[in-house]
Structure formats: C-alpha cells, structure tokens
C-alpha cells in the first residue's frame, strides 16, 4: 500500500514540476542568471503554502515531520558544491528524473553522474564524518530554538515570501 502511495505522490510531484517548467534547463538557468524568476517564485510559493499547512497539521498532531540536523560548516560546504553542480548540469537531483522522463537525454546522463557522485560520497564518508560532527546543533528548527508554536513563525514567514514573490522579485526582474 505504501508503495502504491509513493508511486501516486511521486507521479503528482513529477507532473507538477514538469507542468510548472521546473524540469526545463532554460527555466532553471534563467533563475540562476536572475533573468527569469519563475522557478525561484515557484519554490517560494510551495514553501509559503507548505510551511503554514505543515504547522497547522502539527497543531492537530498530524504532521509526520522529518527534521534534518543543522551542522553549519558541513551544510555550507555541501551547498556550495551542490550549487556548482546545479548550474553546470542545469538540473537538480529531482528535476533530472522528471526531465529524463520527458525524453531529455542529457538529464539521463545527470542521473548517471548523480549515481557516481553518491557512490563517491559513500566511499569518502569515513573521511567526511568530521564535517557532520563539527558545529552540529542537531535537529533544530526556528520554533524549537525560540520555544514557541510553529504557526507564530510560519504565518509571518509565509507573508514575507508572498511579499517577495509579488512585489520584490517581480518589480526588479520582470
């Protein structure tokens, strides 16, 4: 049953990314070149809706959250490496799956590169474990750090994102 549910949620995820242009090289590079802000705004919209929804669910104790640990140094290094890959490939680990489904052969090659990168990480893991231990603050979120209910942060944060989407980014780049 879980497997069928996974397939169904994945199909919706893939279709939304494809229909929204998130699996398009041109749209992704347009965002990274700060020319075409659609994909950045798509991500901000998903977060603005998601954050309020997740913390509303949490209020009813219905959110199956999965909080990743915050190890500052390791995450910054990881993000810098990821960002280079993002711009060089023009896809991310999820959008290359969708783009491959659309018949884009370069995206299939990005998946193969991804498998190689993941294998490389598995081999290098014993040497990199220190990066995960240093400056590790554990599974910390803004609500847990401030010790308040998540909605008190989620709602104003979502409002800021709406402001970014409809005022700031639009006026400057479109």
């Amino acid at each position: 049953m879980k497997l069928v549910l996974g397939l169904a949620i994945g199909m919706a995820f893939g279709a939304i990314l494809q229909l929204g242009g998130a699996s398009s090289y041109k749209k992704i590079m347009g965002s990274l070149l700060l020319k075409d802000m659609d994909i950045i705004k798509l991500i901000l919209m998903a977060i603005a809706v998601g954050t309020v929804g997740i913390y509303a669910l949490d209020l009813a104790d219905m959110a199956n959250m999965s909080i990743k640990p915050t190890y500052v140094v390791g995450i910054v290094i990881a993000g810098l490496i990821f960002g280079v890959g993002f711009a060089v490939a023009g896809y991310c680990p999820g959008t290359c799956i969708v783009a491959a489904g659309e018949g884009k052969t370069d995206a299939i090659v990005t998946i193969l590169g991804g498998l190689a990168g993941a294998a490389l990480y598995a081999l290098a893991y014993p040497m990199l474990a220190g990066l995960i231990e240093v400056t590790n603050y554990g599974e910390v979120t803004l609500p847990s750090a401030f010790g308040i209910n998540g909605l008190w942060i989620a709602i104003p944060f979502s409002a800021i994102l709406f402001l970014l989407m409809f005022k700031v980014l639009k006026d400057r780049y479109e």
Partner: protein
Amino acid sequence: MHDEPVLSWKVAGLLLGLLLIVATALVKPLGVSTQYVVTEAVALHKVAPAVAESNEYLNKYGEKGDWGVGYGWMLVLGMFVGGSLSALITRRFRSRANPSLPSMWQTEFGSSSPRRMMHAFTGGVLLLFGARLAGGCTSGHMISGISQLTIGSFIFGISIFASGIITARILYKRRLAS
C-alpha cells in the same frame, strides 16, 4: 515547438505546496536524493553483499536482510512516470530539436553533444555529492526543510543559490556581456 510551461509559477507552486502538506500528513515530507544511495545499496547488496556491508554509509540504508525498494524509491519512479505522462499529454515530450541539447546551452557552448554530456555528468556528480553531504537536495532539504522551518535548510538554500548564481554567471559570461 512547445517550450513554455503549461502552468504558471503561482499554480504550480500552490499545487506543490499542497502536495507537500498531503505527503507530510500521510507519510513524510518530499525528498529525492536519498534514493540514489538506496538504488546503489540495493544493487550492491544483490551483486556483492560483502562489499556493500563493508561500507559504513551504504549500511545506513535499509535493514539487514531487507534490501528491497520502499516508499521513497517508488516516489522517485513516480516522478519519472508523472513527468513523462504530463509531457506526452501536453505535447512536450522530446520537444527539443536535439534531445541531448538545451537550445540555451547550445547558443553559449556550441552544438557538441559529448560536451553537453560532460557538463551533465559532472554536474550530476557534484549535485549528489553535495546533497549527500548536506543530507538532502532541493526538494528534501530546501522545499521540505524550509517549510518545516529547519535552520540548516535555510543555510543550505542560501548556499546553493549563492554558489549556483555565481557559477551560472561564470558559465554564461558571453551571454551576459552581450
């Protein structure tokens, strides 16, 4: 040739946010990059179980004696299927003149498919190395993580865009200059 998206960023972003809420209510938030490791762990446990078990990182994925695919892997398979179907239905499947070359890339770097493949492969290596070090990618760490207001996910999101924007400017310096 169709290359403009069918949905606006507003509608697609709203749907993605709603899907994230549904997924979090039913199972857990969305995520992709772990499945690259799961794929390798599953394959390696079939082909060379001794090698797989000797690797500290691969051993963290799945239970001993149960190296099948699970919910997360089916989700990624679903992304492939869902992307294919929506592209076929909206007549955007294989809409490029050359399936390996994005036209924007071609304008900057020429029409060499092997060169594009080099970029696509190298990019993929860096993406997954970075995603595994961070513990997630654009969906799991950035979209799902920031939605849960995870502090590390804000840091990851800022880092990938800072580095991605700088790299894109270096790659497309000719286009930006003109």
